[in-house]
Structures are given as structure tokens and as C-alpha cells.
């Protein structure tokens, strides 16, 4: 697989890891946050923490759209699914997320509501066409990567004159969340140990690198945009260490093969034609953040499920012991949660970070559980 396999080369990884070990100053610690769940997943799947020196610590950011969606929004989706006329379509990641009272879309599906998994939002249009006597609602979530396809689909529904299709829009914005992380009480008090960001890969192909430029300026945190392949991540770590060692504070781009400064203008235009900023949106762990999400423009109001069904705003009950909020703010680690592993597991998730394989808790559980007890990789060789 071109552009994949080259970026997973074990030899080069060892060279990069060695270089990191060489360049990392043993006298200091490097706290680097990978914002994206995609990075979190790659880091664990390829065993990157084991390749890093003790003083280079990765912090898992809020860049998993499943993890940051507040329970109330999921409860609203469940309420939509329960309407007898509604077929609710969404990405597979959402199906097992626990809402209030440990309900999930998968569970209400088992009760008999019509909930369908999508691989592409275009399929929701097909389902709407095939079920003219049903209301097809696309439960849309995601960062800027996933937003342009949603916008196209709404636009196409308008062109097709579909009368039974709408979107429950939960698209959120990466830079707004990064700002919020740097404005929490913990950040202000200095409890947030965060020296730099590994910036989003696919989000950045759409929005470009420019939107990250305020972070070095405003918060003195360097950003290195990185691809999702493991060599990309290692390279970005090295680049961040170098900036920190050099006292530089810039936006750098490791993912130059796909990210430009301005991003994909055509995709941005498609989004702004259909969607507009929401005044404020609630994030799990980060609270309400102004202008951090998108809503459907009034020109497309008939495709807005919230308006179409007069969906009541819900504010779900979070599990009080769940540390997702602190984990998403970067101030706690999954193992700090008393529920981690027992009873909270991927098959019985009590918080959203345990659901998506991009969630920090799920990644810790599935790929690195009890890492202190883990047998070192060296012993593997027979």
C-alpha cells in the first residue's frame, strides 16, 4: 500500500526512536499532547510509548468526536431513534456509546427501533429514497474531516428534493477545542502539563495549517501537524523536541504530503454554503465553548432534524466517578479513574473514552492495559 507501508517501516522507526532518545534532554520532561484520537490509536496500536524515553510523555487530547459528545446529545439521538417513523443512521462508532441510564443506540436497536450503521453519509440518502414512508435522520458527528461530506449530502438532498431526510448535526471544530484546553482552570493554575501539540492529520488537510498559528503566539505552545502513520508520529515528536530544545515555538508541518497552509478551499466552501457557526456548544469535559461547533443554515432548515422534530435539548446524567472530563482536558490519565478496567471496559463502557477505539481509556485498555505489568517486548524473541 503506497503512502502507507513506507510510513510504517520498523527499521526507520528504530532510527527515529534512537534519534529522539539522543536529542531528548534527560534534564527535562516533554509533555506532548496528540490532539487527535487517530493519533492516540496509532500510538497504542504500534506500541510507540515503549519506543520513547521515560521523559517524553504523551497526553491524549480531546480529538475524538465520540468522546467529546455530551451525553445529552446522544440522548437526543436516542429519542429521535425511538420515534416510530424515524430510521436513524450513523457511523458505527456511535452505536455503543452509553447515554443516560446506560442506554445506547445499539440497545434501543435491540428493542426494535430502526438504527442503521453507515459507512458513508451518502448511504443515508439512498436509505431515504428507498423508504419514502419513513423519516431518515443522519446523526452526524465529527471534526472538520467529516464535515464536508455531511455538507455535500445535505446539499444533494436539497437538489433531489428529498422530503424525508434530515441531519442531526453535531459537527465540532478543532481549533476551538484547543483554545479551550489552554483556558481551563487547570491550565490557568499550571496543573496542565502541556509543552506542545501533535496537530491533527486529516482535519488539517481540510482546514490547512494556518488555523494553528495562534497557538504558538497566544499560548507559547508549538504545534507540529503530523500524519496518522507511526513514522509520522515519531517524526513529529522529534520535531517538537527540537523546537522545545531550541526554544522555538512555531507551527510546523510534518504532513506536508497532504496539508497546505490554506487547506482544501473547495471543501471549506462546501461547508460554509450549508453550515454556519453555532453560538455555543457543550463539550464533554470542556463545558460550553462559544463558536466551537456548526449548525445547519436556515436556508437548509428543512434538513435540520433539530428543527424538523422540535427535538428537546437534553442534558444527560454523566457517571459521576467517570474521569473522562479530566482525561479529555489532559490532566488525568485513564488509570487515574477508579472505574477503569472494572467495571468500565470496552464491552461495558461507562464513559465515552472507553467506547471509541480512539478514546484514551479504550486505547489504554485494549492495547496497553496495566502497562506496568506488561512483559517487555525484548522477551518476546524465542
Amino acid at each position: 500500500m503506497k503512502y502507507v507501508d513506507e510510513f510504517r517501516d520498523g527499521e526507520k522507526a528504530r532510527a527515529l526512536a534512537e534519534q529522539i532518545r539522543k536529542e531528548a534532554d534527560p534534564a527535562r520532561r516533554y509533555h506532548l499532547m496528540e490532539f487527535c484520537g487517530g493519533h492516540t490509536h496509532a500510538i497504542f496500536r504500534y506500541g510507540i510509548p515503549g519506543l520513547l524515553p521515560e521523559n517524553v510523555r504523551l497526553i491524549h487530547g480531546p480529538g475524538c468526536p465520540v468522546c467529546v459528545l455530551p451525553i445529552g446529545r446522544l440522548d437526543m439521538a436516542i429519542a429521535l431513534a425511538r420515534r416510530p417513523e424515524v430510521i436513524l443512521c450513523t457511523y458505527g462508532d456511535m452505536l455503543r456509546v452509553p447515554g443516560s441510564g446506560r442506554e445506547s443506540l445499539m440497545k434501543v436497536r435491540a428493542e426494535g427501533t430502526d438504527v442503521r450503521m453507515l459507512y458513508s453519509p451518502a448511504d443515508a440518502l439512498k436509505i431515504a429514497q428507498q423508504n419514502p414512508d419513513k423519516e431518515v435522520v443522519f446523526f452526524a458527528i465529527g471534526f472538520e474531516t467529516t464535515t464536508p461530506p455531511t455538507a455535500l449530502v445535505i446539499d444533494q438532498a436539497a437538489k433531489l428534493g428529498l422530503k424525508n431526510f434530515s441531519v442531526f448535526c453535531n459537527h465540532v471544530l478543532t481549533p476551538a477545542a484547543m483554545h479551550a484546553i489552554l483556558n481551563t482552570p487547570e491550565a490557568d493554575s499550571g496543573a496542565l502539563e502541556l509543552d506542545g501539540f501533535i496537530g491533527p492529520a486529516h482535519v488539517s488537510t481540510v482546514i490547512g495549517s494556518a488555523p494553528y498559528e495562534p497557538f504558538p503566539q497566544q499560548y507559547k505552545r508549538p504545534v507540529v501537524i503530523a500524519g496518522f502513520e507511526p513514522l509520522d508520529v515519531l517524526q513529529a515528536i522529534l520535531m517538537l523536541i527540537r523546537q522545545l530544545n531550541d526554544g522555538r515555538c512555531e507551527v510546523e508541518n510534518e504532513f506536508i504530503r497532504a496539508v497546505s497552509r490554506e487547506g482544501n478551499l473547495k471543501a471549506q466552501a462546501a461547508v460554509s454554503r450549508v453550515l454556519e457557526l453555532r453560538a455555543s456548544f457543550e463539550w464533554r469535559g470542556l463545558g460550553a465553548i462559544p463558536e466551537s461547533a456548526l449548525q445547519i443554515r436556515s436556508e437548509y432548515a428543512e434538513f435540520d432534524a433539530e428543527k424538523r422534530f422540535g427535538v428537546e435539548q437534553l442534558h444527560g446524567r454523566e457517571n459521576k466517578a467517570c474521569e473522562c472530563p479530566s482525561i479529555l482536558r489532559g490532566v488525568k490519565n485513564p488509570r487515574d479513574c477508579v472505574l477503569f478496567g472494572d467495571p468500565c471496559t470496552p464491552d461495558n463502557p461507562l464513559g465515552s473514552c472507553m467506547v471509541s477505539s480512539e478514546g484514551a481509556c479504550a486505547a489504554y485498555y485494549s492495547y496497553g492495559r496495566f502497562s506496568e505489568g506488561r512483559i517487555p517486548a525484548e522477551e518476546l524473541r524465542a
Binding site: R14, Q19, G38, T146, H202, I256
Partner: protein, 86 residues
């Protein structure tokens, strides 16, 4: 959620659709978000939509960077080995 992979454009079907390939897996994709595609181009595919073109030259540059590190490493290893052997 942001799962996306580089795929090669095998054939353009119309202004909005193309046939793409990755490692022998073929799929029809939507290309409405990306201008000026040609057969042989690589794009990043996400939920059925091409998000952006991959720049082969920039990719080569990135890989060259790794290569360099690799060579550095080799030289280093050799040096270490030389030292150890001495």
C-alpha cells in the same frame, strides 16, 4: 472517526465519481471535494469522499528525511560497533 487512507485514482467516472484502488481493493468514491484529479493521483479517502490530493514530491521529501535519519543511525551503529569492537 477520522479514519482515512490514501487511495490511487484508477479511473474517472464523472465529475463526482471515480474508481479508486488500495492494495488491490477497488471502490467507487466521491471526488466532488477535490479539483483537477487525474488517473494515477493519490487522494485521502474518508467516509467515501476524497478529502485532498497527496503530493508525491512532498511525500518523497518526508521519506528522504527518514532515510537520512536511518543513515545517521547506521553510521552511529557502526561507530558504536567500532568502539565496542576495539
Amino acid at each position: 472517526m477520522c479514519l482515512a487512507i490514501p487511495v490511487r485514482i484508477e479511473a474517472l467516472i464523472d465529475a463526482e465519481r471515480a474508481l479508486a484502488d488500495i492494495g488491490g481493493v477497488r471502490k467507487e468514491i466521491n471526488i466532488a471535494l477535490v479539483d483537477d484529479l487525474s488517473v494515477g493521483d493519490y487522494v485521502i479517502l474518508h467516509v467515501g469522499y476524497a478529502l485532498n490530493k497527496l503530493d508525491p514530491e512532498e511525500a518523497a521529501r518526508t521519506l528522504a528525511l527518514f532515510e537520512e535519519l536511518g543513515q545517521l543511525q547506521e553510521a552511529y551503529d557502526e561507530a558504536q560497533a567500532g568502539e565496542g569492537g576495539a
